[in-house]
């Protein structure tokens, strides 16, 4: 019985610790990125790099590899967001404009990532 109790305590403590740590780490997501260079990544490869401070307004259509789905990525007034997606959940559209280093726009069904690039003299 004591062994079970000890295990129970350990499990409770572990769950509490994970929750506390993730809560603290979540704060980063609300910080605005100082960067302007953005990468569009599909299937793990960078297919396009855009400098938001200099980019003209544009709509980029990105087909999924198998051609079954797509994303319309919009660049407008130095901001980037997904305007339209060919998937049912539309999470990437609801995410709105890219604003944080820690929170890239990810379209999981279409394997698309839009994120700030590390600016090291590119």
């Amino acid at each position: 019985m004591a062994a079970v109790k000890a295990k129970r305590m350990a499990v409770t403590a572990a769950a509490g610790a994970v929750f506390a740590v993730s809560l603290v780490l979540s704060v980063r997501f609300f910080r605005k990125s100082p960067h302007t260079l953005v990468e569009i990544v599909q299937d793990g490869t960078v297919i396009r790099t855009v400098d938001l401070s200099a980019a003209p307004d544009e709509t980029i259509r990105i087909e999924r590899r198998d051609g079954q789905s797509y994303n319309l990525v919009r660049i407008e007034n130095g901001e980037i967001f997904v305007q339209e997606a060919g998937c049912p959940d539309q999470t990437c559209v609801h995410m709105g404009k890219l604003h944080s280093d820690a929170l890239p726009i990810i379209c999981v069904p279409n394997r698309l990532i839009i994120r700030f690039a590390e600016e090291d003299g590119t």
Partner: protein, 170 residues
């Protein structure tokens, strides 16, 4: 497996699917890929404490497969399956050490494992560590949601008849 048993499992699977579809209709509370309230998990938690691991696994497998079809998003199947089975394995291990008053904790840890599993699957599929950056937000939100679905399951286990752990009702 007796007919009665098969039917009971089928009813629970149906219940889980109803909750799943209902949740699809709700507006997304947090625009983070992979975040869900996990209402269908109420049924899973209930089954973990009332049915055998094998029977619970049957319910979860059927729910994950049919859910992917009903949501019209079969490409998300691999993530939800990875999450659901990590969660299930963890909760089955936990049911031995957690009493009926701590079912909510089982659900919270299940949520944690679900989010970890789906993130790992997303990283593997996308061949990128990028999905992992969502993990802290997913965990904070998912564990909170897991607390409430867990409490719901806890009330259910307590009140749904005087059946024993093997699910004999009445």
């Amino acid at each position: 497996m007796s007919t009665r048993r098969t039917v009971t499992l089928a009813v629970l699977t149906g219940l889980a699917l109803i909750l799943f579809v209902l949740e699809l209709r709700l507006p997304n509370l947090l625009p983070v890929p992979g975040f869900k309230l996990g209402l269908a998990n109420i049924v899973t938690v209930y089954a973990v404490f009332r049915f055998s691991p094998k029977e619970t696994a049957l319910i979860v497998t059927a729910r994950v497969l049919l859910g992917a079809m009903f949501s019209g998003n079969p490409s998300a199947l691999i993530y939800s399956a990875a999450g659901a089975f990590c969660c299930l394995a963890g909760m089955i291990a936990l049911r031995k050490i957690l009493p009926a008053e701590r079912i909510w904790l089982c659900s919270v840890i299940g949520a944690m494992l679900h989010n970890t599993g789906q993130t790992a699957a997303a990283c593997a599929v996308m061949r990128s560590a990028a999905p992992a950056v969502y993990l802290p937000v997913l965990l904070a939100a998912g564990m909170t949601a897991g607390l409430f679905t867990g409490l719901t399951a806890q009330f259910l286990v307590k009140r749904a008849g005087a059946g024993n752990r093997n699910g004999r009702f009445g």
